[in-house]
Symmetry: C3
Subunit: 350 residues, 3 copies
């Protein structure tokens, strides 16, 4: 129940260690990733056409993927290049997947590689921009990918799940506004004249601001299909314009979330934060990363238990309140995309 | 395959920690337990009506159960009391379960709460009686609840499973007698003029009796539905009347067993011992508890492996010997109760 | 998908500890093994006819198998001998399995015991021969037994899976020859004038040969049903006749592999080496065993991951190249044996 013809984050470049291919299941497909001799990332089915060994148990020799069982050398296009003592011209090819490397991530298109369009990759203000710094990590979570979208599109949960870091009662008390822009969904909340919660007090201090000053705080959650959620977050000195305040009066960042289904019921969750203050401060990057890691671990427990509950009561309908509007819109968009892919598949079969 | 309209032990009061709800699956139902502002134990479905989060991940604030995901406040009757920023009048209610606190346990009725009858709770001589002391523990065991009833209603297994503590060959050599009293089943064995086994020698010594004296030993297993087994056990100086001997000539106790199905194939096993000697000796209570814990761990291994075997050979019929009469009677009673519940359900549906 | 009327290795004699029966599932059958009063190994269904307890949780008293639950005493023929307080004449018998002890192993025939023929047990030159020494171990591996046969009948994998011990590129570069002799399959490869790889250099050194001399190396894999693979391996000084070289010019051994299906998708893998040099050197035996243990652990990882891959893509056909001829012949023989058993079963049922 996820679009296949879409770009998902597959891994980070540092996961592609010299000589060692990376096996990862994405959208139900077992894939192997590695860099070829040109340094380009390749993605193939993780299945040697000889006897079905996982190619990810092999190694990368001078940019070629070599099966670790009997030495078959696989080409980037899924055709066997060679195998000791064998003629390989008639070997059945394996699937290749379209891959792009951008914004500090490796992206994969699990569906039809011929339809993969690099122009559909999202753009980000923070990417490659020296005024910004970015850091993050990855969690495997046993939940449907839409539960994580719901989570990120309804931040009232911060008050309860993250009470000691970014939660505060004003989130609950401030209504949110949700609207669509084509296939994008935006949910936002602006809190005026409040005290910053612990995480933001720390950030203000690091940014040279007085953490005890009253602030205007904002959360602008931006969903785009299949499952990217960018959240503009920050605080500005009260009355200076909030999200639109001048740089010197605010501490602003973007929570960067890429949600990649492993298969039905589990995800690779790439989380992180891009910030617009002290971009060169690596220690601050590490500190934020550590704080985010703790926060998202709190979400992980909740989401995995919620998933178990929904499997126990599969028939029960959930409620969609105003705070759930962002997730609900996202689900409708995803339903339409999945239905369209199925329609195309049925038409192609007919 | 268990009665739903019956009282089962759900937990002990000390499992209900201030502020923290307790999640436990009982008879296939996921439940959450907590104390409300009046100090009464409440039991509800462990499912937030908003988005299905387990309420047991939340907290109890001033006696109200608050969902840990988005702050919904749930009432003891399964109706939502409030939620930040929401009108909750039309929120779908969740199931509540009837609960009683008695005899040092929390009891739950997994079936129709309106039919729960506190008068059906069992009574025990040892409960609240200063002449008795009670201690025990709880094990999770991966077996059908009827295998544990069989186990407790046929104590010949003590000779083999518990050879080093309470087993002795005289158990095997002494026939047992089984009879029914309505829906109760009693199996008893009286051994005359024997040497006490190690556990009972320890107990005699603690009770000021000479452990080397010949004794009359008894085991009177009392099953009552759905799955309570009280076993009168003890030793009296030989020829003094056995079970009916005067207090000063015997060391007597009741093994207290409440078996609560988690779902088909697994149980929460609440075990313990109520004794009528040295009731104020907390150290003795701890020592007995430790000994019982070791003994029931031996049963656990046997029962889990027996369960696996029966799943491997589901078609094979087991034998019912005279020693199995107690368990066989109990199964017939349970079959009848379950069939009656199904008949009612079918009649209600028609 | 394995022949049932065949001899498989069940365990080694040292696994049959005095007094303690051994439970092991073989070809889908849960079995219990023990020595009777005559010292003969017996194999029975691991299921007490009384209440289904696993007999392997019991004990062996003076050569009789006693159930650990209620003391039923089981005879070697599957008939109950006695039970405290019971008449056992009408107790349903359990299955017995034919067993033989030979070549330092316990063999079991999971099919019809009446058809078990000790004359069908294989013979080995190294067994009971003082000129040879034998050592080995056992691994549980989660793969179809035929994947292990494939592995052992195609040693080109040594170059990749065992690159640091017995692999070398000359294996890949030298064609192998495969032929059948009735239901046996032989695949062999002879490499002339090469450098010995690390394992064989060690062996040559231990055998008093100069490890830097060029050698002729051979690998002669001999499959016999149901799943025994003996591999003659070794090196001789170059030009001295290879496999047929006189003893003083070679270092020769047999890799001894017995593959016993636990059930579909997992095996007990008994591996070892019989060698014809320094048979009395127990330290060398231990050292070879340690080296083999490391090597077969490399196979284990590959085979378990291959199995997972084949389960993910059950429809996909594998390739059968010339190097796979040994495994392919073995599979055809096994298919024929299994089909014949099914035909007999269908005829018997009709």
């Amino acid at each position: 129940m996820f679009p296949m013809n879409a770009w998902y984050v597959a891994c980070t470049p540092d996961e592609l260690v010299e000589g060692r291919p990376l096996g990862r299941r994405i959208c139900g497909e077992r894939m192997v990733f590695y860099r070829n001799a040109q340094g380009e990332v390749c993605a193939l089915e993780d299945f040697c056409p000889h006897r079905g060994a996982p190619l990810s148990l092999g190694r990368v020799c001078q940019g070629e993927l070599v099966c670790g069982y009997h030495g078959l050398v696989m080409g980037c296009d899924g055709r066997t290049l060679s195998m000791p003592g064998q003629r390989v011209e008639r070997f059945a090819p394996i699937r290749r997947f379209a891959v792009q490397e951008r914004h500090g991530f490796v992206w994969v298109w699990p569906g039809d590689a011929d339809r993969a369009d690099a122009a559909q990759l999202p753009d980000f203000e923070w990417s490659g921009n020296p005024e910004w710094a970015h850091g993050g990590g990855m969690y495997h979570i046993a939940c449907d990918y839409r539960l994580m979208i719901d989570n990120l599109m309804d931040l009232t949960h911060e008050t309860y799940v993250h009470a000691t870091s970014i939660g505060q009662s004003e989130i609950d008390e401030t209504p949110c506004e949700t609207h669509r822009e084509g296939d994008r969904v935006i949910t936002q909340r602006h809190m005026a004249g409040i005290q910053a919660p612990p995480f933001w007090q720390m950030a203000m201090r690091m940014n040279g601001m007085d953490p005890d000053q009253p602030v205007d705080r904002w959360q602008i959650c931006r969903f785009s299909p299949p499952s990217h959620v960018m959240i503009d977050v920050g605080v500005a000195l009260a009355g200076r314009g909030g999200f639109h305040a001048p740089l010197e009066a605010k501490t602003a960042a973007t929570v960067v979330d890429f949600i990649t289904p492993e298969a039905d019921g589990s995800i690779w969750y790439f989380w992180g934060m891009a910030r617009r203050f002290r971009p060169g401060d690596a220690e601050l990057t590490a500190r934020i990363r550590e704080g985010q890691g703790r926060i998202f671990a709190e979400d992980r427990e909740m989401l995995e238990r919620q998933q178990l509950n929904l499997q126990t009561w599969p028939q029960r309908r959930l409620m969609t309140l105003n705070i759930d509007a962002g997730g609900a819109h996202a689900r409708r968009i995803l339903d339409r995309l999945v239905a369209a892919e199925r329609g195309e598949a049925a038409a192609a079969a007919a």
